[in-house]
């Protein structure tokens, strides 16, 4: 997941100055871990590709203030198309930073059906990972009293499985929420 997708999504939501975008990025993705300086690089890159347009806005401190005028960034039509393609594109599973979560945050309801499909895809991936994990772990003996060595192996296995369980449960909840919201809007999923 690139920072530029998040910045582009926020610009689509509302034209903003770079500084405002940095603040909104922090609010929306607090665990994103992005550097503020990186946002200006992302904006330059988006502007260079014609996906956003930066228009001169007011100077810092008002019209009489010093310094160069701040740029207000707005999305362009190619930028909207680029963002839609990203939302509809695959969302690889990454334990540290979830692209799908960001898409769910930023996508308009018209794009939710694609994200509902992606949630099924990611759930299938997690179930396959779970199967790989359970087949790789040694099965304790079938006796009714476990040794501590067996118990500690079970605890370690459970720690890894629980991470996947949390993810799958969240995917199901997010999917359910999107479907319910679409039903309320009278849209067919």
């Amino acid at each position: 997941m690139a920072l530029k997708h998040a910045v582009l999504g926020l610009v689509i939501e509302r034209p903003s100055y770079g500084y405002q975008l940095a603040q909104r990025l922090d609010e929306r993705f607090p665990s994103g871990g992005w550097q503020k300086a990186g946002i200006y690089g992302a904006l330059d890159s988006l502007e260079g590709a014609g996906l956003v347009a930066g228009n001169a806005g007011r100077r810092r401190g008002g019209d009489t203030g010093r310094g160069p005028p701040r740029k207000v960034y707005r999305v362009t039509e190619p930028g909207r198309g680029f963002f839609r393609d990203w939302i509809r594109g695959p969302s690889p599973f990454s334990p540290s930073r979830q692209e799908l979560d960001m898409k769910i945050q930023l996508a308009n309801p018209e794009l939710w059906p694609a994200l509902i499909d992606q949630s099924w895809g990611q759930e299938s991936y997690c179930i396959a990972e779970l199967q790989t994990l359970t087949r790789a772990t040694q099965r304790p003996s079938s006796g009714l009293s476990l040794t501590w060595a067996e118990t500690s192996a079970v605890l370690q296995r459970n720690a890894e499985i629980k991470l996947l369980e949390v993810r799958i449960a969240w995917l199901q909840e997010a999917r359910q929420a999107m479907k319910l919201m679409l039903e309320r809007c009278g849209r067919a999923v």
């Binding site: 179930i127 199967q131 359970t134 099965r139 079938s142 009714l144 296995r157 459970n158 499985i161 369980e165």
Partner: protein
């Protein structure tokens, strides 16, 4: 080897007045003798409905449920179907009344009519030993711990020596060690006695002992693509291929 239990394109809805709640939508699942299949799902995902259909305690609206190749008898709405004599249903609710003087009598109950009371009680004692709770034979249900109740429920379902055991959420209320032990017991019943077992679980670690796993959500069963990428179908390789 043909399937012991097959669910093919099963649909099931529950109705509340005019509102349809689709519980299972085109669910397919095949289980063979000696295999343990575990299905995980959150509350309300349809685990109990899936288990009851597999045990023949409910009929599907569409699709087929077959046990040893024969379609389960369809029952009319409102009537109570009889449990097939080769299917064990783990009923955690216990005896439901105080009419049983002790646990050995309760576990012996499914054998009455087929065996003399003495023989039934002897077999009940053996199965209680098998699951590790022989000390409960003379006790009353109310005095048992949650772990003992689960094991007694499994004994009650095993006493008729079923070919298929269906257990809906048998690890509820148990601590981590008890959950592991219950799943270990089910695993050994598959391995040593060739039983086919379908179990539903609310916690994913309980999937670890299974030959095949699935996740139930929105009426769909998500299963790993292994061994073959098929949508909504659990199909199993022979035991020898599982390594």
């Amino acid at each position: 080897m043909s399937a012991l239990l097959s669910l093919d394109h099963v649909h099931k809805s529950h109705w509340r007045g005019p509102h349809e709640n689709v519980v299972l939508a085109d669910v397919s699942l095949h289980l063979r003798a000696g295999e343990l299949v575990a299905i995980w799902g959150q509350r309300g995902a349809g685990k109990t409905t899936l288990a009851r259909l597999a045990a023949g305690l409910e009929s599907p609206d569409r699709g087929e449920v077959r046990f040893r190749g024969e379609e389960m008898t369809r029952t009319s709405r409102g009537s109570t179907p009889l449990l097939h004599d080769r299917i064990g249903w783990v009923r955690r609710a216990g005896p439901g009344s105080d009419e049983f003087s002790n646990i050995a009598d309760y576990v012996a109950l499914p054998l009455l009519g087929m065996h003399s009371p003495r023989s039934a009680r002897r077999r009940a004692g053996a199965v209680l030993r098998r699951v590790g709770v022989s000390e409960c034979a003379e006790a009353h249900w109310k005095s048992l711990t949650d772990g003992q109740r689960t094991l007694v429920s499994i004994a009650h379902a095993l006493v008729r020596e079923p070919a298929l055991l269906v257990a809906d959420d048998p690890t509820a209320y148990l601590n981590v060690l008890q959950r592991e032990e219950v799943m270990g017991l089910l695993r050994s019943a598959c391995d040593e006695e060739g039983l086919g077992i379908l179990v539903t679980v609310p916690d994913m670690p309980e999937l670890a002992r299974a030959d095949q796993i699935g996740s139930l959500s929105d009426g769909r069963l998500v299963v790993p693509p292994d061994p073959e990428p098929r949508k909504n179908v659990i199909d199993f390789p022979g035991r020898e291929q599982l390594g």
